[in-house]
């Protein structure tokens, strides 16, 4: 136990740490925003009256949820460029994340939708709400509100998974850390610093998701109680 900590060696690189953290946050926010839309659409499609649509979406979800994230990244980054489709690394990484988070979101939202009692839908029909109104107000929004904690933790997991994209040269927090430890040989300190940064980003995102929840779920805002 005679390791001498030397965090001062990392000080000249603080800008790199910040840049890496910002890239991580950017990737997460973009991927989650698009992934959420795709996830909701897939959840709706899974309940569609068309068998072929249910099948296509089902296959997508099964493939993504049953393969490792790194394989999906390599597939998109190397597989697509082999057939002539190249894209910048940030785009490829975010694309892979969207596909990944979309599938998980779809399953979580679907679970929420199945929890809506049929009698509520019947009541809405009896009140003369349109199909679109029923879907939005009676099924989708309460479903999302119900599974919001699960969604939040899935999105946080996605943020942590951005570390994997350093494999395809994305300069996010882990990639930056690997560079810095190779210049300074202070690997222990470097990883302590990024662990704390990841923790900070997690809390930042959690706070963000909480504010969004207050904005979109009136019940939570007015009564302070979850569904």
């Amino acid at each position: 136990m005679n390791y001498q900590f030397d965090f001062a060696a990392l000080l000249p690189y603080w800008r790199d740490f910040v840049a890496g953290a910002i890239t991580t946050i950017e990737m997460t926010v973009v991927a989650v925003a698009i992934g959420l839309v795709i996830g909701v659409l897939c959840a709706v499609a899974r309940r569609s009256a068309y068998a072929w649509l249910r099948l296509v979406v089902g296959i997508y979800i099964e493939i993504v949820r049953n393969t490792p994230f790194i394989v999906q990244i390599f597939f998109i980054f190397f597989g697509l460029s082999s057939i002539g489709i190249t894209m910048p690394v940030f785009f490829a990484a975010v694309f892979a994340m969207v596909i990944n988070v979309g599938a998980y979101t779809a399953e979580i939202v679907r679970a929420g939708m199945e929890a809506v009692h049929p009698s509520q839908i019947e009541a809405a029909e009896a009140l003369g709400l349109s199909r679109f109104q029923i879907y939005r107000e009676i099924i989708l929004m309460p479903a999302i509100e119900r599974v919001y904690p699960a969604l939040t933790s899935q999105f946080i997991l996605m943020m942590l998974s951005t570390s994997i994209t350093s494999q395809i040269s994305a300069e996010e927090l882990t990639g930056v850390a690997n560079n810095i430890q190779s210049y300074t040989f202070r690997s222990f300190e470097t990883y302590i610093v990024i662990a704390l940064l990841y923790l900070a980003i997690t809390y930042l995102l959690r706070a963000g998701f909480h504010l969004i929840a207050l904005g979109i779920f009136p019940r939570r805002r007015r009564l302070g109680t979850p569904l």
């Binding site: 980054f77 082999s82 690394v89 494999q167 990639g175 690997n178 430890q181």
Partner: protein, 263 residues
Amino acid sequence: MKLLTKFGIAASAALLMLASAAHADSLENIKKAGKVRIAVAMGIPQYSYVDENLKPTGSDVETAKLIAKDLGVDLDLIEITNAARVPTIQTGKADILVSALGITEERKKAVDYTVPYATLSIIVIAPKEIAIKNYADLAGKRIGVTRATTNDMDITKNAPGAQIVRFEDDATLITAAVTGQLDIISSQSAVLGGINAKRAGKEPLEVKFTQAETNLGIALPKGEKPLQDWLNTWVKTNFDNGTLREVFRKYQHRELPDDLTSR
């Protein structure tokens, strides 16, 4: 609270014991344990890679086997990544590292080296139509390197205007070049043939300029004098009797310089 304190004391005592046990002479420890932990980063073409039967092979892997044999102990081959090479030795996760590690002044502050046992030429390669003659020509261009290698450090230092794209290992870098994600890469000379063989239908890559010939040393934790002396003698003996030259020629298809071990 009392219980916690007791636990704390017991735990730190245990840690101290572990620490002191680990700090005996490592050559002695290796012989006592009957095995030597040698770290090798896999995915470095010709130096350390897996063959068609998925068995580790290459000049570094063979060198590691010879060292274990001459120490008279079993080989515990620890497969790591490029960026983990120095930390693995610093933190004592392996006894020695035989993994195409270039000898640099910066790294010497973190680990100890033996005399050079092999070399590595690092080059910049790109397709014919891209005009590159020196570091200055790389300005504004995307160049792929493997993170935490001497290539990375060399390009970072000498081509500040270049857009450096860093991959975790040589295999990923080569895949990027083969699939056309990148056209310009800095790597070691041994990879060129393999890349062009796989770059079917795309412009072949050619050597633009040689960055450096790096001397490679076997790395070990700081202050393990007996082990370092043993390894130095081993390298010199096996270089002079031709064993190391033979291993190198077999995988790299080129000769080691005659004055290698006195560099």
